[in-house]
């Protein structure tokens, strides 16, 4: 084997930069000594330890491409969260962050796997899918990819400018947005929760046998997965990452 299997260990990454994205989200950029690299879609476990030893642990998807040596996490601040407010409000450049990873090879995509690639994101579920999009670009790959991205409002679209720029530069990357709570004047995109009709219009046809990755809150994920299977897509080619109640 090329490399002996290693047990996953906790490491301390250094926060080199934090940068707000939308009102509720922040990007953390980490340098992690001993980082072995990752595949787009994988996540890390983050662990916070208080002075008295109390610990809290959460999982966050890696938003950066594997080609980027730095690990980027996208944090959404949950009002009643225990970990996310610390990561969005308190942590700053120079701090350490204990994490382990990469984790979860099942929900991952490499450009050489081909496609076409159908990505469906709800809110901060965009993080692992952004890693896939960035990886595809860094690898110079032209696998056709479509992203259907559900957000509350235009201002809540995470990575909005970068996605616009990538789509403008690359016609094999197509993005459809849907906004569920409010739309800006002149909005021409979808304006409702994702449903089977929308998927029928946006998704690749089942004949094209796309690889599909869906990430976001559980209700969105289940609606999408069920609808795609109903449209004839093979269940084994639809991979889901439900957030669950402690997502973020």
């Amino acid at each position: 084997m090329a490399d002996a299997p290693r047990k996953l260990t906790w490491r301390i990454g250094e926060v080199v930069e934090t940068s707000p994205d939308t009102l509720r989200t922040k990007r953390l950029f980490l340098d992690v000594p001993g980082w072995v690299g990752h595949r787009a879609g994988q996540h890390v476990d983050v662990r916070l330890t208080a002075e008295d030893g109390y610990q809290a642990q959460r999982s966050y998807s890696i938003a950066s491409a594997p080609e980027n040596g730095r690990v980027e996490l996208l944090i959404e601040r949950l009002e009643d969260g225990e970990v996310s407010p610390y990561l969005t409000d308190e942590i700053r450049a120079g701090d350490g962050l204990e994490l382990r990873g990469p984790i979860g090879g099942w929900f991952a995509w490499e450009a050489r796997e081909g496609g076409p690639l159908f990505l469906v994101a709800g809110g901060s579920g965009i993080a692992p899918l952004m890693a896939m999009i960035r990886h595809r670009q860094a690898a110079g790959n032209d696998t056709p990819v479509r992203l259907l991205f559900s957000s509350r409002s235009y201002e809540d679209i995470i990575f909005r400018e970068e996605l616009e720029r990538l789509a403008a530069e690359d016609e094999t990357l197509q993005i459809a947005h849907t906004l569920t709570r409010s739309t800006p004047p002149g909005w021409e995109g979808y304006a409702r929760r994702i449903d089977e009709e929308m998927l029928g219009e946006v998704a690749f046809s089942a004949d094209e046998r796309p690889l599909t990755f869906v990430c976001g809150p559980t209700p969105l994920v289940e609606t999408v997965a069920t609808a795609l299977v109903g449209l004839g897509h093979e269940p084994a080619r639809v991979k889901t990452e439900r957030f669950g109640p402690t997502g973020g």
Binding site: K7, T9, W10, R11, I12, E14, P33, G34, L48, T49, A50, E51, D52, G53, Y54, A56, E82, Y86, E90, I91, G94, D95, G96, L97, E98, P245
Partner: protein, 260 residues
């Protein structure tokens, strides 16, 4: 290019106990911090390790600057068992899907080492006298809630008139969960089948329509979605008791895991 390698591993009764030596040991520095593979450990990591609680090196390694966590410190309170802290919410821990048995299909049974098994439909169960009671509850994952209010049918009442030589009871539930206790820990006013929490019907995520409540033991013994008690002559470790959790589970003696 590369070799496709396919290994088939047959697994029978694979219960592995005591894979000790992983990760952090008590009172010793974390191994990875001195691992040559770890690479350049920044100066701030060492300086942070010297910031400890009360000057005692807890050997816990990295501390997250400025992180306090949501929970309240347990005041030196003799209602809080050792190693526990108080929480404000009511955490939900799940080992499987939340059952949603329609009440019309729900029943509760007393069975096993009894002359005559008994069952109640939901209507019959709710027609039984209920008690309101307030208790402190303690989860093995270290959170405690003081003064929780419940309403339920005493297990003593359900066992009234039941003749048995059994010394143990197994609670069985929708979804297959089980837990075990000595019969005397479920009787004498120590256990209920609870259907109401804080004045409202017990929500499904907390075990509704009805759960066992045995507050003097860790909360995993208070089986959610309970459907009956089976009286047995020999103890039968339940879902968690068979996988590392203490057979008895007394929070006041911190009986969390096997051998505690």
């Amino acid at each position: 290019m590369g070799v496709r390698c396919c290994t088939t591993v047959h697994v029978y009764d694979a219960v592995v106990i005591g894979a000790g030596g992983f990760g952090r040991r008590h009172n010793e520095p974390q191994a990875h911090m001195f691992d040559p593979d770890f690479g350049g450990v920044p100066e701030w990591v060492y300086s942070r390790r010297s910031t400890t609680a009360g000057g005692i090196d807890m050997g816990r390694g990295f501390i997250s600057r400025g992180f306090r966590g949501r929970r309240r410190q347990a005041e030196a309170d003799d209602r809080v068992p050792p190693g526990q802290y108080l929480v404000e919410g009511f955490p939900v821990l799940s080992a499987g899907p939340t059952p949603h048995t329609p009440l019309a299909e729900w029943s509760f049974a007393i069975e096993g080492e009894v002359d005559e098994p008994k069952t109640w439909s939901w209507e019959q169960f709710r027609a039984l006298p209920s008690e309101e009671f307030t208790r402190d509850i303690h989860c093995v994952t270290k959170w405690s809630k003081l003064g929780t209010t419940w309403e339920g049918v005493s297990v003593d009442l359900l066992l009234e008139g039941v003749d048995t030589a059994a010394e143990y009871v197994v609670a069985f539930c929708d979804g297959g969960y089980t837990t075990n206790l000595p019969l005397e820990e479920a009787t004498g006013g120590k256990a209920w089948i609870a259907h109401t929490y804080e004045g409202e019907p017990l929500p499904p995520e907390h075990g509704g329509p009805a759960r066992l409540l045995v507050p003097h033991l860790y909360l995993w013994k208070s089986a959610k979605w309970v459907r009956g008690l089976r009286l047995v002559t020999e103890d039968e470790p339940g879902f968690w008791e068979s996988l590392g959790y203490h057979n008895h589970g007394d929070p006041w003696h911190e009986q969390r895991y096997w051998g505690d």
